[in-house]
Symmetry: C2
Subunit: 361 residues, 2 copies
């Protein structure tokens, strides 16, 4: 079936905008990432924040992933309900409500959590007490991004010792997100932190790195045991921009219709900030790549309008045309919708619920 027939089928059956994934490309992405991890001798723990679907997480597991990574307790609950096990929640969880839920989840599945401060660590004891099972905790380390994570190896060691000392908690290792420029510093940080915990009689059995761009660096950090990458299942315009993917690797596109062409040099898509999101993609020009009109610029949004600057386009779309857009950032686009329309061999094959969407906590 030609792409024009596919676009017509999606528009006819679902209307636009529609978020569409190509299962053939996606499966190739899953296999490639697994092969990269296997070749590096690093376990694959894909981050499911990108797709929020137990169906797709099971495909990643069946392809060889050791477990999965979640960013929210609610995501982990949906994944356990969907048959997944061995889950790292890479987030500082806090508060009685979450500790009760975490304890309940820990009774049902293998859960590890991350923490970067004593307040969070002390709170986690309540979850372990509820579960009557030890809770493994990794120490999140900031190695250059100035986001979450302790800033020094000494703080990492101190937090590891606190974890080991507190009832119900088990020190499990370190979680890092190295940046392009920080590899030698990250190695030094990790070496010091590992030496420090060893001196305290502890063992960092997990050293977890993250990020789709870092798939190109797997093995570079000595001691890495597993890797968390999310975006690589679909890829997006950010991954194109940093060289982590080519256009052939982009498995997710937003199908949109041109609804207005009030003047020659401009037009409007039926996909605005409530579909493509205002995510700037780390400073990209515009809000998406239109495959049929790569010179068109999605220059801004209303909530349901995408404003097109067509100045640079030789061939310009007309009202009613359906186009496919590679979004700046797939993770936030998937989070806007309740379902992904799955195509295979150029035909609609399935509808996959974004089951964990809306689990705000």
């Amino acid at each position: 079936m030609s792409i024009e027939r596919l676009k017509a089928q999606v528009a006819r059956e679902f209307g636009t905008p529609a978020v569409v994934i190509d299962l053939d490309l996606m499966e190739r992405n899953i296999a490639r990432v697994q092969a990269i991890c296997d070749a590096a001798g690093v376990a694959n723990r894909p981050h499911v924040k990108t797709h929020k679907s137990p169906v797709l997480a099971r495909m990643q597991r069946d392809a060889g992933a050791r477990g999965i990574t979640c960013q929210k307790l609610g995501e982990a609950e949906v994944m356990v309900d969907g048959g997944l096990d061995d889950i790292l929640i890479s987030y500082n969880l806090l508060g009685a409500q979450k500790m009760g839920r975490l304890g309940a989840l820990l009774r049902r599945a293998g859960i590890t959590v991350a923490a970067d401060n004593p307040t969070v660590v002390e709170g986690l004891t309540e979850a372990a007490r509820t579960a009557e099972r030890p809770l493994p905790v990794v120490v999140e380390c900031d190695t250059g991004r100035k986001r979450a994570g302790v800033e020094t190896a000494q703080e990492a060691v101190d937090l590891a010792r606190l974890i080991a000392r507190l009832p119900g908690l088990e020190f499990a290792g370190f979680m890092l997100y190295p940046t392009d420029s920080s590899w030698p510093e990250t190695q030094r940080f990790l070496d010091r932190a590992r030496a420090g915990v060893r001196e305290a009689g502890l063992d960092a059995r997990i050293v977890s790195t993250g990020g789709t761009p870092n798939l190109a660096n797997l093995g570079r950090l000595e001691g890495t045991t597993e890797h968390r990458a999310g975006t690589c299942i679909f890829n997006d315009r950010m991954m194109l921009a940093c060289g982590a993917a080519s256009l052939d690797d982009c498995a997710l596109t937003v199908y949109a219709t041109v609804v207005s062409r009030a003047a020659s040099e401009r037009g409007i898509l039926d996909s605005g900030s409530k579909t493509l999101t205002s995510d700037p993609g780390g400073g990209l020009d515009g809000y998406g790549l239109i495959l049929e009109h790569p010179q068109a610029r999605i220059k801004g949004f209303a909530e349901e309008h995408g404003f097109l600057d067509l100045t640079a386009c030789n061939e310009r779309p007309k009202v009613g045309d359906v186009v496919r857009i590679v979004p700046n950032h797939v993770c936030v686009v998937v989070n806007m919708v309740d379902q992904l329309i799955a195509v295979r061999g150029g035909e609609v094959a399935d509808v996959i619920p974004v089951a964990a969407r809306g689990r705000l906590t």
Copy 2:
């Protein structure tokens, strides 16, 4: 109950992040907007894209609104299911799938649609044919914003004549969104367009203006019959910035917890781009106003992290603190969640489903 007790209640019962509305403030906003419209002799047709809830739309109707405005067919379907009638869909609807749904909806309720081009207008005949009822159509006019809408009064008249000529369609009037700087031009545009349709034997029974900031201008455009304002039910940081609301009028806040304080001058909230959205609010500094720490700057996001710059804060939040955030743009924040937590008199009173969220089409 003090605000600290309320924050503790929300965190305990729902966890954070949570999107919370104050029903007392919201009802005051609804009443004030209705009073402004009544005083100007202009019908109130609130835009429900802001809240996507039939419960809240019925409150607006019961306060005196003539009908409602929707931006999506899916929103209109949910509103009709929820007992609303007299709906303007202020959007170019296109394609067989939507024409079938629009026709079905037109059999059940009073629906008017907007259009700005002949392709859309010609397509609408199919909906009227399906419904076996005439479909009123307003012509969307661009009066300065360069978004949707015909650019000249002559085009507006031509489109009105096409609507009147086509089977099943009824020319109903004009839809505009005047900008601060365009009032005299907008009046000239409207006067010419009305004169033009009158010459053609047509009557513009609807002249619809839009926008919360334009509530301050109601009556300024001679001939206005009704007004579409959305944001004013909750207000947000954009409305604060343009003077359309004061802090006392902000009925929606996002409750978030400080989950990390890795260094003295920075911190992390559990609300990132998947909660507050990357909407820049038309060029505001940062991504929200933290009521407890107005000098704190939400300087950027990961998906579930809000990065705080605390440099300018004398008193800095600690890990575990719950704060309330007025977001840049409420309409896109409501669109991220399945429910609004409704408080009254400082206690949780209700949970209101965002029933039309996820209706992508």
